[in-house]
Symmetry: C2
Subunit: 349 residues, 2 copies
């Protein structure tokens, strides 16, 4: 274990834990005394049929999607009971940084999206007794989890909105993730994940942030110097102030756990590698929501999957923010995404 205050409640806000006990992972290891973190908003009704599940993205936690939960917006806590579940490796659920030997730090086992979804399913059913979800939605790795939910538990998920993510990680994303993992590990003090100071590997996190800067926003964003309107003074000031600033507080092993999981995301494992069959299992009314200029998940890749989902529509969100459109630095992005979610929730299923 290595204490990093980024994962404390002072930064993360109130964090609930759902204890999983001894939790066997897809890759073979058993996480003993494992837990998944979460936070909820709104009230579960008596029929227990007003729940929304909103998993989070790489490098994030339950707190990061909270601004989508607002009165008058799609995920309105006055109407819905919204669960923001964690994922393994996020620093507040079971993670390299908070796990005891033998699975501490660099020895933390590889985790798959299925593990997250199985843990979340136990949270939803055992803790809350919920048997149907009005909506599962999430961005990026949250979209991977959304797909896994809709494919693994088709009768539970009424509506699904995978945002800027894929059911099966593309080969291009695999090499992109490989490169960004290599950045993290390039820190001179990395020591196979057994560093002794929480922020001693900052050089690797800085390189990792730099590569995200290259792929994160679209070329037009940089050409038009769109960063100016957000208070940055130069391209590099934006890369440092936005990307490096985001990643520097985090634990390198935690990021690597999530990155490996993202890289190996493949919901077609449910159907022996047949992606069409996997997506064919989805019963949810589905809006596939890509971001027009996303370099991580180009339109073609998301549309390719959408076409294999029976009851689905493609809703492309235009923005210069590329993959990072979800964070809605441009307030109009928030509304565009929310409008799609609102429309989906209004559909009778």
């Amino acid at each position: 274990m290595i204490h990093n205050q980024h994962y404390d409640e002072g930064v993360q806000g109130e964090t609930k834990k759902f204890n999983l006990g001894d939790f066997p992972l897809q890759q073979g290891a058993t996480l003993r005394g494992a837990w998944v973190s979460y936070r909820t908003h709104g009230t579960l009704n008596a029929a227990k049929d007003n729940a929304i599940l909103f998993p989070h993205m790489y490098s994030g936690s339950h707190k990061d999607m909270e601004f989508y939960l607002q009165s008058g917006w799609a995920c309105d806590p006055e109407n819905y009971f919204i669960i923001l579940p964690g994922q393994f490796g996020n620093g507040v659920s079971s993670s390299p940084s908070n796990t005891l030997p033998p699975y501490n730090m660099g020895a933390f086992p590889n985790v798959q999206i299925e593990d997250d979804v199985i843990a979340q399913h136990r949270l939803v059913t055992e803790e809350f007794g919920i048997t149907e979800l009005q909506l599962v939605t999430g961005w990026s790795m949250g979209a991977q989890q959304t797909y896994e939910w809709a494919i693994r538990f088709p009768d539970m998920v009424k509506r699904a909105a995978p945002i800027a993510g894929t059911a099966r990680c593309t080969p291009h994303d695999q090499i992109f993730i490989e490169a960004h993992m290599e950045q993290i590990k390039s820190a001179p003090n990395f020591n196979n994940g057994f560093y002794t100071e929480p922020h001693s590997c900052h050089v690797g996190l800085r390189r990792h942030a730099q590569v995200w800067g290259v792929m994160g926003c679209c070329t037009e964003f940089y050409k038009t110097e769109a960063w100016r309107q957000y208070g940055f003074s130069s391209t590099n000031d934006f890369v440092q102030g936005y990307y490096a600033n985001w990643f520097l507080p985090m634990d390198p092993n935690n990021l690597l756990t999530m990155a490996w999981k993202w890289q190996h995301g493949d919901s077609s494992r449910n159907t022996n590698g047949d992606l069409a069959a996997a997506l064919g299992r989805i019963k949810a009314k589905t809006f596939v929501i890509p971001f027009e200029q996303d370099m991580f998940f180009p339109l073609g890749d998301t549309e390719h999957e959408q076409q294999m989902i029976a009851n689905s529509e493609l809703r492309v969100i235009p923005s210069l923010w590329g993959h990072f459109t979800m964070l809605s630095m441009d307030q109009t992005d928030h509304k565009k995404i929310d409008d799609a979610l609102k429309e989906l929730l209004a559909i009778d299923v």
Copy 2:
């Protein structure tokens, strides 16, 4: 100086040197006893009006564009006298690896595209007495040099074909190049550019290759496993066998010199930063030739510049090879590019 056999004639083939004497650089330093390397094909006619100049790309040398010079093709040595000039930092022209102290290795001064073009201009005029070039063409950094030639010497350049490159490096390319320079410097033995073994920084070159793999070919290339037809056995085998294999023999400082030059490429310095004015100086009949799926130089960026060139046309080359279309692993790419050059050379100017 550090000997690296990659730059010997055994690898590079016959290399001619044009001595520049003491050569003052744009950034202030003077390279003493500097030279630019080159090779020629075909015969300069008596009128000295059948010359083509074909500068090369980042990490390359005169040898790499030679396969474009073939009987029956656009740059036909039976009709034209074709000069393949070097650039500073390529390892065969004056470079960190072959320069004596004080400007050896990590102390080699920063060089700009203007320096290359001024050196090449001296080669063309002083060595050969050439006053007009039927065509200047080049790929990537070769395109930067092509633009600089057409803007700096508008009366000399009859036709220009910048291929997959820009007159002014875009902000997105600047951060991409910054990231790839950081990869090279991340090698534990880099020692500010004063490594003692020529290949001791291979870890940095491997990371650099990995980032090139992410941006080099398009996502569709990976999705369709197009690498299979070129004898690679997996995505990673392609990244290693194609990109790492390409970069590993090279000198890290040499690459950094070229990278900095690319990053700071800006032909609008000819006109006090006014890009439209710079491009407006071009008298050459110009074909701007982007590659449809190029992530380094997206269509929009090249088209933006083309629209500012009076006598110009945009010729988009489709290929899954993205920026690397030029190397024509797919033989049909070679023909598509050559057809455009042929058409340009056939135009009376």
